[in-house]
């Protein structure tokens, strides 16, 4: 299989414009004859469904929450990038493009990234027109901040709730189309199967989570905007419901999954407090602007109260190892450094499973220098949130932080038109393998989700539909019956096992394993070990799982069982990808490929997208490569020393 | 006219009716208290005031009808709203803890019933004399009540005074929450004005209740009246 990115050639600055002109249009009168399924109502899904509805297509939109407004995008805090250059500090489309390609450690497709940077500007206009209350200056104009180490102020934000406000904007546009009858919304419906007819994506099978009823929906195209798979680690900053089911089932129906090993670990999250911990909470990266990160020099001091550890017994390790960036080193570097310190036994906080995993983020210097009032003005609500969760007052006791899985750069492979290798199957937002390469810069995921939904898919989907005949929405093809039957037997199986262990116990076991072996630092031995253990866990899962209740009503354990079953298969692919990529790049850090702690890329052999084809559970997947070329930003080694 | 009907059928519309009629009754109660307090100035003052009010029968009946209309609309709206709220929450919580709702706000319905009973009794008592018994008098040669005499006699009875006092306290509760509430119902007060509204309500309601209660108490204790 050759993977054609379909990215237009020629000058990058005009590539998207030329491409838009070359695409076919659907006659306005014909648009209502086409139907489109959008799975997901996060930033990518809601913006796509609303926009496609506005254009006149018949849209059916699905989400598993009780309302589209609750999609995981709602939790994004920091902000959204756009090359507006409102601050006149040297930003431009080209600079955003450049930063993103470099930030992604030269593993992203240049032309996609350029388009993203171009569109970023329109996103802000659109959001503001919808009434998104971005932060403003006293003059009434939009405020910006610099974020995640960027050298220009290009991040737009709405307090610490940017994702919420952007999603509410997209959600309101979606609700408007629902009222207008152009979008039919199916909340509390989970997609459990993709239906492919004659090689084209033609529909999905969903389960009504309240009644348990299985239903088929047919359409002329299917868009998946189902988010990332960070919850494969069990503990992550993702919402509890985030899962890989939609993309995994599409993968099993032939869609290639690209770069699954690219996962991002966020350095500042509240550490785990006990075995019962259900998720991890992100603390804004902005804390590192004023806080100093340290750990005790001597492992013997780790149990002591921090005030009893004198200055000379503290190791400000980021300042020591990366003197020029210090506490502001990029996410992956800061994360790995914290892990190393804890692995050496110098972590602080409660020991979970015998190990203390936490380092101090200390504000005492900053409080002395700037005063309590300034610190409280800058970080008051974060400090409050921290205290609510940990019961400790960060004004008096240093905060404890530990890295946590946060975002997944991998996902279904798509071309420049956001179409997967299965015709008619489009993938948007975090669910696709995205424009971020091996590492995502802060404030870029929101940008990509909205770019895909508002400004890319309306064109590229039209181009696809213009080439196919409207096929109606009746799901009477035998492929639908077969898919429903598959889903049903799987659900029945979960209920029939009647074993001893709960879904969560398997999920935790899997999560611990992949976090340990395929988390921040990866070794071939560790990955091989994981690849041996995962099938064993999976086997036990299918023999010893217990799910009470029935398939005919709201059954949250049954829902989870399906998701964990998919994670158990997916994890294997993730480790395989990590093992196959014999280099370190961005979020993928192979301990055997480093230069004194720095990621060591291998451009000669790995400057490609690794797109995997499903070959059966437990069977080695087939690797396809899409070579990456860099015509504009020449690959260089990142260094933050 | 559909728009008007729709307004009055909306929950906010019904509340506007409550607030506007409540405001009207508020006006009456304040003036009523200010008039009655003249008992402390002696027979001449209070009876002269009573006469003054009755200078024109048209005005008296106009005002009475207006007031009656307000009371009826107030009651009708309150019944409709109470029914709606019953429908909105048919199942009560097994446990209930209130944090912000005050005694006054939670007891609006009960203070209202007490007020209703009071008003009926009070009209029969001091206006028409129906429930007053033997001693009810008109001013000599006039169709105007001898308020000085009636009040002085009526409030010698501790039971009646007790009832009046209780009624005034419930009036106070109804009026206090009513005042704070009506500003919000009518959209007249935002965040900033809240404290002002509350203080204003306290002052007015305090004055009305203290003024009203002082009359029967003073008579009972022999500090006023004959």
């Amino acid at each position: 299989m050759t993977l054609d990115s379909k990215a237009p050639s020629g000058p990058i600055e005009t590539a998207w414009d030329r491409h838009r002109f070359d695409m076919k249009l659907v006659n306005p009168a014909n648009k209502r004859k086409y139907s489109v399924i959008v799975v997901g109502s996060g930033l990518a899904g809601a913006s796509a469904a609303a926009t496609l509805g506005e254009l006149g297509y018949n849209v059916a939109c699905f989400c598993f929450q009780d309302s589209p407004r609750r999609a995981h995008s709602i939790a994004a805090q920091g902000g959204i990038n756009a090359a507006k250059n409102y601050q006149n500090d040297g930003d431009s489309v080209y600079r955003l493009f450049y930063d993103t390609v470099k930030g992604g450690d030269f593993r992203a497709r240049e032309r996609n990234v350029y388009r993203l940077a171009q569109i970023s500007v329109n996103i802000i206009d659109q959001a503001v027109a919808q009434g998104v209350p971005f932060a403003r200056e006293y003059g009434g104009l939009l405020a910006n901040r610099s974020f995640g180490g960027a050298q220009v102020s290009r991040t737009f934000y709405a307090r610490g709730q940017t994702g919420q406000q952007l999603l509410l904007g997209a959600y309101s546009a979606l609700e408007r189309q629902i009222a207008a009858g152009k979008v039919k919304m199916y909340a509390r419906h989970e997609m459990l199967e993709l239906v492919v007819v004659d090689g084209r994506a033609r529909g999905i099978v969903v389960r009504n989570l309240e009644t348990g009823k299985l239903e088929s929906f047919a359409a002329d195209a299917v868009c998946l905007a189902t988010g990332g798979y960070g919850n494969v680690f069990f503990l992550s900053t993702n919402a509890k419901g985030c899962n890989t089911t939609a993309i995994w089932r599409a993968h099993k129906k032939g869609a290639l999954l690209a770069n699954p090993c690219y996962t991002q670990i966020h350095p500042t999250c509240i550490p785990q407090a006990g075995d019962y911990q259900s998720k991890l909470t992100l603390m804004s990266e902005s804390l590192r602007n004023d806080g100093r990160v340290w750990a005790p020099k001597d492992a013997a001091d780790c149990g002591k109260h921090p005030s009893e550890i004198s200055e000379d017994k503290r190791d400000y390790y980021l300042e020591r190892m990366y003197p020029s960036f210090g506490n502001l080193s990029p996410r992956d570097i800061a994360s790995r450094a914290a892990k190393r310190v804890c692995d050496e036994g110098r972590g602080v906080g409660p020991a979970v499973g015998g190990v203390r995993r936490g380092v101090y983020l200390d504000f005492s210097d900053a409080i002395q220098r700037l005063g309590h009032a300034t610190i409280s003005e800058r970080y008051g609500n974060l400090f409050e949130m921290y205290e609510r969760i940990t019961g400790e007052n960060p004004y008096q006791v240093p905060m404890r932080m530990y890295p946590a899985p946060h975002y997944t750069m991998g996902g279904l492979w798509v071309d420049y038109n956001l179409m997967s290798n299965v015709p008619g199957l489009f993938v948007l937002g975090e669910a696709n393998f995205s424009d971020h390469g091996a590492n995502r810069l802060g404030a870029s995921a929101l940008m990509q989700g909205l770019s895909d939904g508002y400004f890319v898919i309306p064109y590229t989907l039209g181009n696809y539909l213009a080439g196919v005949k409207p096929a109606g929405t009746t799901a009477d093809h035998p492929a639908f019956r077969a898919a429903e039957q598959d889903v049903k037997s799987k659900l029945d199986k979960f209920l029939a096992i009647k074993g001893k262990r709960t879904v969560d116990s398997f999920h935790r076991q899997l999560g611990d394993l992949v976090w340990d072996r395929c988390g921040m630092g990866r070794t071939p031995e560790g990955l091989q070990e994981a690849l041996q253990k995962i099938p064993a866990i999976r086997e036990e899962f299918w023999q010893n799982l217990t799910v009470a209740g029935s398939a005919n009503d709201l059954n949250q354990s049954l829902e989870k069982a399906g998701r964990v079953a998919d994670f158990l298969e997916f994890a294997e692919l993730m480790c395989t990808d990590a093992l196959t990529r014999n280099e370190s790049c961005g979020g993928h850090f192979r301990e055997d490929h480093q230069d004194d702690g720095e990621a060591k890329r291998n451009d000669a052999d790995y400057s490609h997208v690794a797109a995997w084809e499903f070959a059966g559970v437990g069977t080695a997947p087939v690797l396809h490569k899409e070579p990456l070329t860099f015509d504009y930003v020449k690959p260089v080694q990142r260094s933050y020393k | 006219m559909g728009w008007l009907l729709r307004f009055f059928n909306s929950t906010i519309g019904m509340k506007v009716v409550m607030a506007v009629t409540g405001l009207l009754m508020y006006g009456f109660v304040i003036i009523h208290m200010a008039g009655n307090i003249q008992v402390f100035l002696g027979e001449e003052a209070i009876n002269h005031y009573a006469q003054l009010l009755h200078t024109s029968e048209e005005v008296v009946w106009g005002a009475r009808l207006g007031l009656l209309g307000a009371v009826v609309a107030h009651i009708v709206s309150s019944v409709r709203l109470i029914m709606l709220s019953g429908k909105a929450r048919p199942t009560a919580y097994a446990k209930r803890t209130y944090t912000a709702a005050s005694f006054a706000s939670l007891s609006m319905r009960f203070s209202a019933i007490l007020l209703f009973v009071f008003i009926i009794y009070h009209l029969g008592h001091l206006t028409s004399g129906t429930f007053f018994g033997e001693g009810f008098k008109l001013q000599p040669g006039l169709k105007v009540n001898d308020v000085w005499h009636n009040v002085s006699t009526a409030f010698k009875n501790p039971l009646i005074v007790g009832f009046y006092v209780i009624a005034q306290l419930s009036l106070g509760a109804h009026l206090y929450h009513g005042a704070v509430s009506l500003f919000r119902t009518l959209g007249l007060a935002g965040e900033r004005q809240q404290a002002l509204v509350k203080n204003l309500a306290r002052a007015i309601v305090g004055a009305v209740v203290v003024g009203n209660i002082s009359i029967p108490l003073a008579v009972l204790l022999g500090l006023a009246g004959k």
Binding site: A129, F134, T390 | K95, T185
Partner: protein, 258 residues
């Protein structure tokens, strides 16, 4: 610590439902309330019993999924805190807690502590948006917004749609939620063209969903995890009165969707 829980169990919409008593030993003070329930659920499932259904997703207090009533208080006793952020250190050894779903006709119980809040979505459908199609926006900075207005609009827009205001209100009114959404847009210049049309449609939708009226008890405000202010209700009332009584209606299509 050890707790006694009385949890509302109801199989589906039609079931009558009842309280079931559970003892939870070994509750750590560092657990969140939902983690405490997770532990209980693991235990129940281990015994082959069905887990207690409760809604949750972000567990960070932002998605608005979670929420039930603890001893008569929506989201429990801590101010400005959703149940997912409520931690067990708020409780003490031996506490006896009653856990109930939001109770309102407009929020039918789906199962156990899960209710159907789609009425909120329908209120938004009635007009909680700015009618602007994708692509038709002008440059964001061509429309300056007074910072104070933007901030107040944000305060209103911070509503997470959890429904605690309805649960807390003695009349099961949705006034705080609806007014938050109305205010968010009415405070911004972008919301002006549809301001009066919007408020009328949203209020009528709210009424038709069987929510109660506002007696200004203020319970909603104190139980709102996002501190949505009562002044929003005042603002909405003013707009509604003005729109209903003093403004010329749109010809013809009064109630038609978008």
């Amino acid at each position: 610590m050890k707790l006694t829980l009385h949890i509302w169990r109801q199989k589906d919409r039609k079931d009558a439902g009842k309280f079931v008593r559970y003892e939870v030993p070994n509750v750590s003070e560092h657990m969140s309330f939902l983690e405490m329930l997770d532990v209980l659920n693991e235990d129940l499932q281990g015994k082959g019993e069905e887990a207690i259904a409760f809604e949750h997703d972000c567990r960070e207090g932002i998605c608005g999924s979670c929420g039930f009533v603890i001893n008569g208080e929506p989201h429990g006793p801590q101010d400005r805190t959703t149940v997912c952020q409520l931690h067990m250190r708020t409780f003490k050894e031996g506490d006896e807690l009653y856990l109930e779903p939001w109770r309102a006709t407009a929020f039918p119980v789906v199962k156990d502590l899960v209710v159907d809040r789609s009425a909120f979505d329908r209120i938004i459908q009635a007009g909680g948006f700015v009618s602007v199609n994708t692509g038709s926006a002008r440059d964001a900075n061509s429309l300056p917004v007074r910072k104070e207005d933007a901030d107040r609009a944000f305060d209103a827009a911070a509503c997470i749609g959890c429904g605690a205001c309805v649960a807390a209100c003695p009349n099961a009114a949705a006034m705080l939620f609806t007014s938050a959404k109305v205010s968010h847009l009415s405070l911004l210049p972008q919301g002006q063209p549809e301001r009066y049309d919007r408020v009328v449609k949203m209020v009528h939708q709210m009424d038709s969903e069987d929510f109660g009226h506002c007696s200004n008890h203020g319970e909603c405000e104190v139980h709102c995890p996002k501190g949505i202010n009562l002044s929003n209700i005042s603002r909405m009332n003013a707009d509604y009165i003005k729109a209903s009584l003093f403004m010329s209606p749109r010809e013809g299509k009064e109630e038609s969707g978008a």
